[in-house]
């Protein structure tokens, strides 16, 4: 009981603090902008811990955050092996191949209006489909190891990046292209000096969507069969053994990896498209 009272007391105090902070001038500073969500996140963890302990929720239903943290610390080598298998080998390889292929195909079909009119509706259609479904087929073709996971990721990231890149290549204005023509620039010069840079905001939009898809694809593909390592494998087997603290540990790693991956791509975007209005400091 004392735990529940403590949890709700903490929640009330933190929320009052956040309301105060939000009303004050502190939130105008960068530190204040970081503090409010951080306090909210910590509150969630404390309430979680308090409620789980207070109601004596069994660990096979919902382990408290401290138990998960202990598990992460204890299982670091396993988590690292799983991370390398799923993220570095599966997701990252597939991401690079898939995005690279998508950009190349986009540049290729950009030269033909006929192909564009034919491929874009198909690409848009495929981008909305539940592509994870091909995971069992690709696992059958490429075996249980990371190659099949990379293949799933390639297919998943291909279409969003393709559609965005084609849209981006059309983004440069007629005036700008005319200017290149008056310089007597060749097709490739126009492509590299004007159209690809102009397309970068769109391409990065696709690349950012693809980061999440890549991780999802790699993890879900492992549900259909994998060697005895990998995040998806660990999640599905530990769920079967009711080792929920290990499952949460893997989810924590997946969440951190996903956020870091997205953040990295967003950082590169900021470097590449520094000229774009959305990147100006506000």
């Amino acid at each position: 009981m004392i735990w529940i009272i403590f949890a709700f007391g903490f929640w009330a105090a933190a929320w009052t603090l956040n309301v105060r902070l939000a009303a004050s001038s502190v939130v105008k500073t960068p530190a204040g902008r970081l503090a409010v969500p951080a306090i909210f996140g910590i509150t969630l963890l404390v309430v979680w811990e308090g409620v789980v302990r207070g109601l004596a929720v069994p660990g096979v239903i919902l382990p408290p955050p401290t138990a998960i943290a202990v598990r992460i610390a204890a299982e670091l080598p396993t988590l690292w092996v799983d991370f390398v298998q799923t993220f570095v080998k599966g997701a990252l390889t597939g991401y690079v191949i898939g995005c690279g292929a998508a950009v190349l195909v986009a540049v290729a079909i950009d030269r033909s209006a006929f192909l564009q009119r034919g491929l874009l509706p198909v690409g848009n259609f495929v981008a909305a489909l539940p592509i994870v479904g091909i995971a069992p087929i690709l696992v059958m073709w490429f075996g249980f190891d990371w190659h099949s996971k990379a293949a799933v990721v390639v297919v998943m990231v291909f279409f969003p990046v393709l559609v965005n890149t084609v849209a981006g290549l059309a983004a440069s204005e007629v005036m700008q292209r005319d200017l290149m023509a008056t310089y007597s620039a060749s097709y490739w010069q126009t492509l590299f000096k004007l159209r690809l840079p102009a397309a970068m905001p769109f391409i990065f939009n696709g690349l950012k969507i693809a980061t999440t898809l890549a991780l999802i694809g790699a993890i879900v593909a492992e549900f259909f069969g994998s060697p005895i390592r990998g995040m998806g494998f660990r999640i599905s087997t530990e769920v079967g053994r009711l080792g929920l603290d290990m499952v949460w540990a893997e989810i924590t790693v997946a969440a951190l990896a996903g956020s870091a991956f997205y953040g990295l791509v967003a950082l590169i975007e900021r470097g590449v498209t520094f000229w774009h209005p959305s990147q100006r400091p506000r």
């Binding site: 956040n18 309301v19 902070l21 939000a22 009303a23 939130v27 902008r33 409010v36 969500p37 306090i39 909210f40 096979v60 239903i61 006929f114 192909l115 564009q116 009119r117 034919g118 491929l119 509706p121 198909v122 259609f125 909305a128 489909l129 539940p130 994870v132 479904g133 091909i134 069992p136 087929i137 696992v139 059958m140 073709w141 999440t212 991780l215 999802i216 993890i219 879900v220 549900f223 259909f224 069969g225 995040m231 998806g232 999640i235 599905s236 769920v239 079967g240 009711l242 929920l244 499952v247 949460w248 893997e250 989810i251 997946a254 969440a255 996903g258 956020s259 991956f261 997205y262 953040g263």
Partner: protein
């Protein structure tokens, strides 16, 4: 017609490539069979054989079409071999989850727009959560809800709800904030209450954003329902068809289930698109 021709060309090229790939990938098995029987097969003999295997590596398009037709129309709808039955199992979870997730998402978005403290504390997490592979927790939700006695439709719906929730929150917050300062000022000069501002200005202007995120949300909800069917051990639903097909090497079954899932996704997105068009036209916002 002018728009259709390129699409049809691309589609026929895809089908042709598919046939070629089917011959190429299935040929090995036929050659092995022939070698075991001590005979030689010519390419002309090989060609029809590769397209009529029971468990091909890659089924030819017409085999998938036959499997699809058999599953959709060849069985009684209540039969466990009917794809209509399995599609309905998946769709009901998708729709229930989508309804829950969308309602919760819109409510949270309204809260975020009207409460500054909530905006500052929840919004960064809502955005960050979109970079997280949420689908990874699907098996855990299923098993945990199962162990507390909840099984069947609801656990899958929870996953669908969770997946459609965040796109709706983020899109709806953007939409509710989209009226520009002039319009908000005008309502202030009318001395409109916050509720009146919400119903007469914020909600109507948010509609295009809402529909865009609904389309993302329902596609995500369908994926969630399919993945939610995996860990329960292939009982019913399109995900179960995928899993049992991959267990028993029934490739035609996998492809048929995959196509049904694709059609379902396309149909759901199309329905929302149609509702969007009608709504926006009646509200005078159609482009």
């Amino acid at each position: 017609m002018k728009a259709l021709l390129p699409i049809l060309t691309v589609l026929s090229v895809i089908v042709a490539l598919w046939y070629a790939a089917a011959v190429w990938m299935n040929a090995q098995w036929e050659r092995d069979q022939a070698a075991r029987a001590g005979t030689e097969v010519t390419f002309a003999q090989l060609l029809p054989l590769t397209m009529s295997q029971d468990r091909p590596v890659l089924p030819a398009p017409h085999q998938v079409a036959v499997g699809l037709w058999d599953g959709l129309a060849g069985q009684a709808i209540t039969s466990k071999r009917s794809l209509v039955y399995h599609a309905w199992v998946t769709l009901s979870a998708t729709l229930l989850g989508f309804a829950i997730g969308t309602t919760a998402g819109i409510l949270l978005a309204v809260g975020i727009v009207h409460n500054r403290a909530m905006d500052l504390s929840v919004m960064p997490w809502a955005i960050a959560s979109q970079t997280i592979p949420i689908l990874a927790i699907a098996p855990m939700i299923i098993v945990v809800l199962n162990s507390v006695g909840v099984s069947g439709l609801l656990p899958k719906a929870v996953i669908s709800a969770y997946l459609s929730f965040f796109p709706v929150v983020v899109g709806m917050v953007k939409g509710l904030r989209s009226p520009d300062a002039m319009q908000l000022d005008l309502l202030q000069t009318y001395h409109a209450s916050r509720a009146a501002t919400f119903w007469k200005l914020r909600l109507p202007t948010s509609m295009p954003y809402l529909f865009t995120s609904l389309k993302v949300g329902i596609a995500a909800a369908l994926v969630g329902a399919i993945v939610g069917e995996l860990p329960t051990g292939a009982v019913a639903g399109l995900g179960a068809r995928l899993l049992s097909g991959s267990y028993y090497g029934q490739t035609v079954q996998i492809w048929a289930a995959l196509f049904v899932a694709a059609f379902a996704a396309a149909a759901l997105v199309a329905v929302i698109g149609a509702v969007q068009q009608v709504t926006l036209r009646r509200m005078g916002m159609a482009r």
